[in-house]
């Protein structure tokens, strides 16, 4: 890649919020050119009919993925439902780099996949090939990958907060409680009663308590950080009356005499050179408003009131660092571009 050349890009599943946010970000990416947009339900329509906010862009019309022309594409982003994705990625040309945003290639263990997604995995070889795309924690592998499985939004926030401190042996990996809060776009553009404005506005509620599909993904990576031991995490997400933003509050038991300050120092050092992760000084709190629309993650560390415990909090925009932004960050790495290319947008506040 030279600074001027353009990657030819396809976005599969462009009618979801994740797809739309990919298009939003790619539109100002200097090395990206969107060539294919698929959305089987809306095939034949111009993108602006499905997403009027993108009406100023010159975009290809939506097509069915079966009808897309893959030849000549450099990168495909897959924002399709899990299950479907396996099949489609398996059918793609070999040379195409794939950044997948579904859950299909995140889990290493096919049995865990089958348990949580209700059917055996259909593309085991791809699953094995796929690299887990939490960029900051897996950069060299992402750089070399052809197929990257972007993490879920909750795992992105939680693992950025936890992996370095678990890896450093500062916390007990058996006693991790993650209380998560998310805006509604985490659920996609699904038309269901639970996501109506009148059901969500002016209220909050937990869902999938201790049963959410992002739990095994966190356990896999925390387990790896803990040296391969199997771990179980307590994970409870809550739905918030807002569009974007995700905050995880992690309640941790300290190990081996560690303190909250140790955790903060470890995280600060780990992320010192990271362009998208900021560790706050003592006493400052992350807030979702400070990352809205951007690819940043902000982490804060607090002493707990119970001796021997600490609290680590991480805020991201679930659609950007938790999804489309991180996908582009991975693409940049996979194609030799500077990692921050096209992701310099600052948070939109208020």
């Amino acid at each position: 890649m030279t600074a001027q050349s353009k990657l030819k890009i396809g976005v599969l599943g462009a009618s979801g919020y994740t797809g739309a946010d990919l298009v939003r970000l790619l539109a100002t990416h200097p090395n990206a050119e969107i060539r294919v947009l698929t959305a089987n339900q809306h095939a034949g329509k111009p993108m602006r009919e499905v997403y009027p906010h993108l009406g100023a862009l010159d975009l290809p019309d939506l097509v069915k993925w079966e009808d897309a022309d893959w030849s000549g594409l450099d990168v495909a982003f897959c924002g399709l439902p899990h299950g479907t994705t396996q099949e489609i990625v398996a059918a793609m040309p070999d040379g195409l780099k794939v950044v997948d945003l579904s859950a299909d290639f995140r889990l290493r263990d096919p049995e865990v996949y089958a348990e949580w997604y209700g059917h055996p995995h259909q593309a085991l070889q791809l699953q094995e090939e796929a690299v887990y795309g939490l960029t900051e924690l897996n950069r060299p592998a992402v750089q070399a990958a052809r197929l990257v499985a972007c993490p879920g939004c909750y795992p992105t926030a939680a693992l950025l907060a936890l992996v370095p401190v678990v890896g450093a042996g500062l916390v007990e990996s058996e006693d991790v409680v993650i209380d998560a809060k998310s805006g509604v776009t985490g659920a996609g553009r699904k038309v269901t009663q639970q996501l109506l404005f009148a059901e969500v506005g002016e209220g909050i509620h937990p869902y999938g308590v201790a049963k959410h599909r992002h739990a095994p993904e966190m356990e896999q990576e925390i387990g790896l950080a803990a040296g391969g031991r199997p771990v179980r995490v307590s994970f409870t997400p809550h739905l918030m009356p807002m569009n974007r933003g995700e905050l995880v509050t992690c309640y941790l038991r300290l190990a081996g005499g560690a303190t909250a300050d140790d955790l903060r120092a470890t995280l600060a050092e780990r992320y010192a050179d990271e362009p998208f992760v900021r560790v706050l000084p003592a006493g400052e709190s992350p807030a979702t408003r400070n990352v809205r629309g951007s690819n940043y993650a902000v982490v804060g560390v607090f002493e707990d009131r119970i001796p021997g415990r600490a609290i680590v909090i991480c805020a991201i925009d679930n659609l950007v660092k938790g999804s489309s932004g991180q996908a582009i960050q991975n693409m940049n790495l996979m194609t030799g571009l500077a990692e921050t290319t096209g992701l310099e947008q600052q948070p939109l506040f208020p």
Copy 2:
């Protein structure tokens, strides 16, 4: 009291949201007649100027508390800042029943009070006399009390969830993690930048992480339930972009082989005859939208994914069960009225 007679009532600090919600609820209470409204900053104004939504009511004008006529009042609600309250209550006529909504009489231990509120308590005798007004957990004492200290909103929700299961020895009282979420009215009508719409809307953030003043209050009551042992709880509140509603998610370690089902059964039995507390069947989640504007508390219990742990969640309206509603519930008890009088309003959803 007969069903027709009217209690003569004063509301001190009527210009706060808590004061306004007291007036809202008392306006349809069949045995209440508001005789005095104080608000030193707004003295001389009609209430409708400060709260136009109460403009249809025939209410006394606001006066300074120094100028209020206490003679002939039966009950005073105090919605004043902590500190001030001690002084004012001490000056009230002996026969007046007082329902206090401040923090002044909640803590048994004067040293704990001084530590958290920054000055020695000025009315130790009253502090000793005061009864902790979490109605469902302290009914006989409230019935006999002259001075009731209504709990804070967070303690109300947390203690309803925790006291029965701690008391039954089902959970480890040393390992209680409470992640709380609240609408903005929990902070009152304070005019500060942090509470502007543009700062709060479309975002969430933690505050007072592991340092909030409601922690010692919870510890006091959980400690009592645990047989008098001193306990420390991990308590972190988060500000939500909504007006009303509070949800506490309590992460608990089970004791002595107990299960989540045991917790649910204990809570269900404990609250079986309570008019304002509902324990949900397995699998159902509390949501703040289901209690908005009402005096209800709703509790749900979940098995955690980490073996040996459980999650108890409680939702209330912070201004009603968490403040004004519970205050009226206490008044009803203190004056021999049916406990639900004037509190039959159902939640406003959507």
Copy 3:
């Protein structure tokens, strides 16, 4: 009716927001007893499954309307879709008083009905019998009626603002511009993409510009007030990111030398004894927050900057005065109860 006796009540279409708000309000109505709740899609379920916020109430399970037992009912509220309603009301027992909340019986002229609703009216006799239930403007007819057609939410707010001043000849009935803003519950509990939180939150947009079905209803009543002349109004509703509340801003050309003060005086006099309508003094503005959850309407009048023009603004809660509350107000009148019975709830603010 005596103060103690109970009306036996059926609510048809209880699974809509209007149905739920009827149940909320009837639950504390001293003379109402809910005997039948219908919801064909949810037949067989307890109401609490469809509306958990009503879980504290002892309510009959939902049934299909075909299976409902009408015998012994005194009043039926119909919250069914237009079209369907005609058929069902026609099949009801003669003695049953019916308060209809659909559009089926609002329009006097069957041709206008057919034009706007796309099919000929199927129950012309009932249409003729039905009384237009804007209580304050049609009280004697409502009192005598067996079948009342409650107005739409927008017409309720607009006509309260306009009919007295049009009727008094103070404004030009040919030049009425109504800009309306409504919370999402005005659209009911329809599960459509347009009503998702993520589509509505943090944004506003007009819809049905100059083509909304409430326009002919307003024209009918304004025309009557104008002495029977046919009129056309300019009416544009906008969707707001909030659950409840409706505000109409009416831009008017003054007639015959009238002033804004004349309009205010006329409205103030007209509504002086009305328990639910308040006309504000000069300089004060209606706001939806001041009527939320209540049956109040608040009206403000302003001089316009263009000479010879004035602005009248009215705020209501679309689900209460704009729907369920007014329906109960009508029921009270039709059954000889005091008009305010069960509607004394004050607005929920914040």
Copy 4:
């Protein structure tokens, strides 16, 4: 300017929302380098303390404007309160280009200024020199200007909708009714009770009815478009429970046999080559969600139901096209850069 060279920029009043949005946008502007940030109340602080969402940027600390070093700056953006601005701009070095976002230089007529802003103008010569910076309508003058007065947010939206059709004689300039709706950031970061979340959330209300200071500004420009005749417009803004976004609904009387289609065609032609203004096809509505965070304006035209009338609606982001974005657009023009430089960000939806 070459494509690589950097303008040295100062932002005065950087602690307001407008200042923060300027910094957000300038941060990714390829030809901008922020050298000075002033905020007298926060002088000495790093910008990240006042606006944590900008914490990833390397910015100069805040200083008092008196202490700022103007030498070497190319452009100053002034986001100061009206009144103050006059004085400060008068004291700036002659060679400095100034883009003013206050109201100080918008009004041509000093008497009108004095009437609406309560004091005589203190810098009449600058007022005369200043160019009204509604870019699309005044491009050649902006290009040549040293001092540009950016329009208010409401005038920006309204004039984009109205000037071309008034100028073409298609509507009666004496009968323009503008109903406007705005998110809270239109009021800035003022810490007042009216802007608290709990006062604004879940509600809407009009303010400054027919008395808002943006009215004379609209009248000035509409009057110019109407050939210099003095006009009066009816203008009523409403506060919405959202952060960003502004929508003006203009109710117009058609002139000389014009139709809504004529208006749409005129607008479409007028803006055919404009990068930031889109005129929608018949039947489509502008919505603020479709411009959030971006510099776009979207315009829709509708036939009204009253014969001889039409409705033109325009949506913008009040902080971008209504303020900081347009300011940068003007800077680009004034300095010979491509007009869209640094403003390519697409709307953030949801």
